[in-house]
C-alpha cells in the first residue's frame, strides 16, 4: 500500500470534505479517517474555499450544490489562485447531466463522480489521484 507507506513516511495527507449534507459527511469522514487521512470538513462553499487556502489539503471531495458558493464556483476560485491551483479536486455531486459533468471538468475538477457511488470505487479513485501526484507536487506549505 503506497499510501500507507507515504503516511508512514511523513505527516498523513490532508483531505477536505466539502458538503452541506451531514449524512454523507459522516460516512466520508469515517472512511477517510480509516484510510489514514487527516480529514477536514467544510459545510458550505465559502468555508471550503477558506479551508483550502488555509490548510492546503492534498485533495478535496467537493459537492456541487452547496449554499453560499456552488462547488463549481469553488473549483473556479481554487484554479484561479496560484497558491491553491494544484489542489486535487474530486467533484461529488447529484448533478448527473452530461452538461453538469462538462461544466465541472471545465471549471477544473480532476474527477467527477455522480451520486450515488460505491465507496470502494471512490476510495480507489482517491488513491489513484494521490498516486498521480508526485512527491515534487506535494504542497510546500503542507
Amino acid at each position: 500500500m503506497e499510501l500507507l507507506r507515504a503516511t508512514e513516511a511523513g505527516p498523513s495527507p490532508k483531505v477536505l470534505i466539502a458538503d452541506d449534507e451531514p449524512n454523507i459527511v459522516v460516512s466520508l469522514e469515517f472512511m477517510m479517517k480509516r484510510e489514514g487521512f487527516q480529514v477536514l470538513v467544510a459545510r458550505d462553499g465559502p468555508q471550503a474555499l477558506e479551508t483550502i487556502r488555509r490548510e492546503h489539503p492534498r485533495l478535496v471531495l467537493l459537492d456541487a450544490t452547496m449554499p453560499g458558493m456552488t462547488g463549481f464556483d469553488v473549483c473556479e476560485a481554487v484554479r484561479a489562485d496560484a497558491g491553491t491551483r494544484h489542489t486535487r479536486i474530486l467533484m461529488l455531486t447529484a448533478k448527473g447531466r452530461e452538461t453538469d459533468m462538462a461544466r465541472g471538468v471545465g471549471a477544473g475538477a480532476d474527477a467527477y463522480v455522480t451520486k450515488p457511488f460505491s465507496t470502494r470505487e471512490l476510495m480507489q479513485k482517491v488513491k489513484d489521484m494521490m498516486a498521480g501526484d508526485g512527491p515534487g507536487r506535494e504542497d510546500p506549505a503542507a
Partner: protein, 718 residues
Amino acid sequence: MKLDRARLLAMLAPGLALALWLLLGAAAFHATLAPPVAAALGALLAPLAESHGMLLVGWWLTAAAAGAWLVHRLADVYVAAPARLAEGARVLVEDDGAPPVIGAGSSANGALAEALNALCAQRRTLKQDMARLVEEASRTVAQQRDQLGALLAELQQSVVVCNLEGRILLYNARARALCQRLSRAPGATAGAELIGLGRSIHGVIDAALISHAREGLDRRIARGEPTPAARFVTHTPSGHLLKVSLAPVRSAQPDAPATGFVLLLDDITEDDEAEAHQSQRWLALTEAGRSALANIQAALDMLDYPDLEPPDRERFHQVVRDEVATLGDRLSALAADAAETRTRWPLEEMHGVDLIAAAAHAIGAETQQAVATQAVDAALWLRVDSFALIAALVFLARLTATGRPGGGVELRLSRADGRAHLDLLFAGGAVVSTGWQNAPLGGSAGAACGTVREVVERHGGEVWLEHERQGAAAPRALFRFLLPLAAGGAEPAPIALESRPEFYDFDLFAAGDGGHAQDARTLESLAYTVFDSETTGLDPAGGDEIIQIGATRIVNGKLLRSECFDQLVDPRRSIPEAGIAIHGIRPAMVRGQPTIAEALPAFHAFVSDTVLVGHNVAFDLRFLKLKEEATGIRFEQPVLDTLLLASVTHPNAESQSLDAIAARLGVTVSGRHTALGDALVCAQVFLKLLPLLRQQGIHTLGDARAASEASYYARLRY
C-alpha cells in the same frame, strides 16, 4: 337602286365597244376598196345614210342598251351581291348577334351565305360552351376558395399566408385573436394594426427571422425535400413566445418556385412556462434522489466494516433511517405534485346536455339511484373538467343515498347571470352532514380529483347546499354548482366578424414591387385607410379635441369591414352639449379611455403603408397635425379627400356633403355620426368614385391628387 360612276361606265362600255368595232370594221372595209370603187360606194351609200341612218343608229342603240342591261345584271349578281355578303360576314366576325348574311343573286352566292351562316352558328355555340365552362370553372374555384376560407376559420391554429414580400394575403380568426393578444394598443380593436390584408407580416415577426427561415427553406427545397418547412421560436415585443412554422406556397409542379409562404403560429408562452416548471421539478427530484441514495449507500458501505464500534454503527443506521424517511416524504410530495398537474389540465367545452347525461349515467351506475333529468337547458355549453365534476356529483349523490335507499335524485341545469346552475336535487337535506365540501371524493374515479371544494375551485366556480322553501309537503334540498359557461371563458372569442371572405385576398399574390413611387400606381392597386374623427368642436387651435377615431381599410378595391379601428378618446376636457346631439358621445363614455397621446400610436400603426382617405379630410388632419409636436407622431402618407374627388366627378352638384354624395352614388347610409360609421360610408363612396374617376382619365394616385388640387382651386375661386 343606286348607280355609281363605275357601274355607269361599265354599262356604257359594251355600246361604245360595239360602235368602235363597227366603225373599225367599216374603215377597214373601206380601206381595202380601190379608190373608184370606194367613191362609187360612197356615192351609193350617202343618200341612204340620210334615210336609213336612224335605223342603223337605233339598231346600235338597242344593242348598246342590251349590253348595258347585261352588264348591270352581271354586276348585280357577281359584284354587288358578293360585296354585300363580304360586308355581312365582316359584321358577323365582330358581332355574333348580327343577323345572318343573305346570299342574293346567284345560287352560288346563296350556298356561300349558307356556309358562312353555319360557320357563324358553330362559332356562337363554341363561344357559349366556352363561357359556360369558364363560368363553371370560376364557380368551382370560388367554391373551393370559400371552403378553404371556412376550413381556415375553423382551424385551431393561427394561419397566415403571405406573398414573397411578406404582405398578408390570408389569415384566419385565430391569427386575428393571437394578434389581439400580442398588440399593445388599447381598446377592443387592438391587433388590427398588426394583422390585415396587405399588411406586412414583419409587424408581427421580425423580418430578419423570416428571411433566415426562408434561407433555410430554400436549402431544404434545393435538397429536394418533399415537404420543406422551417420552424423557429421567437419572442415578441409584448413578451410572448411564438412557435412559428413556415412552409412555401408552390404550385403542384415539382420544381415550381415559391410564390409565397404559409405561417403557422402558436402562442407557446404558457406551455413553455409549464414545461420549464415541469423540467425544473424533475431535475430537482432526480438530484435530491441521487443525493439521498448516495448518503444511504455510503452509510451501508460503512456498516460493512466488521470492526465498527457500537456508537459508529448506530450513527450509520441513523443516516439510513433518516434518508429513507426523506425519500418517502419526497415521493408523497411528488404524488401531490402530480395531482396538482392533473388539476391544471384545461377545462374543455362541453354541451350541458351531454354532461348531464354522463353524470346521470355515472350516478345510476355507482349509487343505484334513479336520476331524473327533465329540467335541462339544452342551449347551454359549459367549460368544465367533466371527469372531476362527475366524480363530485357521484360523491354527493352517494351522500344523499345514505339512510334513504332508492330515493332517487334529479339533475337540473339552467342559466344564471352569465353562468350555469348545475343542481343535484334530493328529498330531505338533513341527512347531509357538515364537512361534505372537504371530504375526499373517493370511489374509483374520485381519488385523483380531491374534494368537492377543490373541484369547484378548479372551475373558478362555487358550490353550496340549498333548501327549497316552497312545497312544504316534501321539502327538497339541492347541491348547487355555479359553473362557467363556454362563451366568455379563458379562450377569448374572436371579434364578431361580419363576413369571412374579407379575410383573404389572393389577388395580392400578383401585387408587389412596392419600390415605385406611389404616385405612379393605379388607384385600384393601392391600400387605403378611410377614417373619420369626432371632436368636441370645430376649432382645434382653440382647444377642441378628438374624442373618437374610426377607420376601415380598402385593399385591392375591397372594403375590409372586419379590419376596423374604433377608439373612443378621453379629451381631458368637457364635451359641449351641442356636440353630444350630433355624435352622441357623453363625458361618461370617454372616462377611462386612452388619451389622444395613447391612442395615436396605435392609429399610426393601423394606417401604416396606406393612403389616407377622408371626407373633408383637411379638418381631421388639422387635429392630427396639432398633436404632432406633443406626440412625435407624424402622418406623412398621401391623402385623398372624397369631397374633392366628388367635386371632380360631379362638378355641378349642389351639395358635396357626405350624405348628398352617398345618396347620389347609391350608397346606403347606416350608423352615421359615429367615427367608424362615417368612415365606412366614406369608404363606400370612395369605391364608387373610383370608376367615375377612371372615366375621366384619372387612373393613378398622381392623377387623383392633381385633379383634387385643380378642383380645390376651382372651388376657391368661387
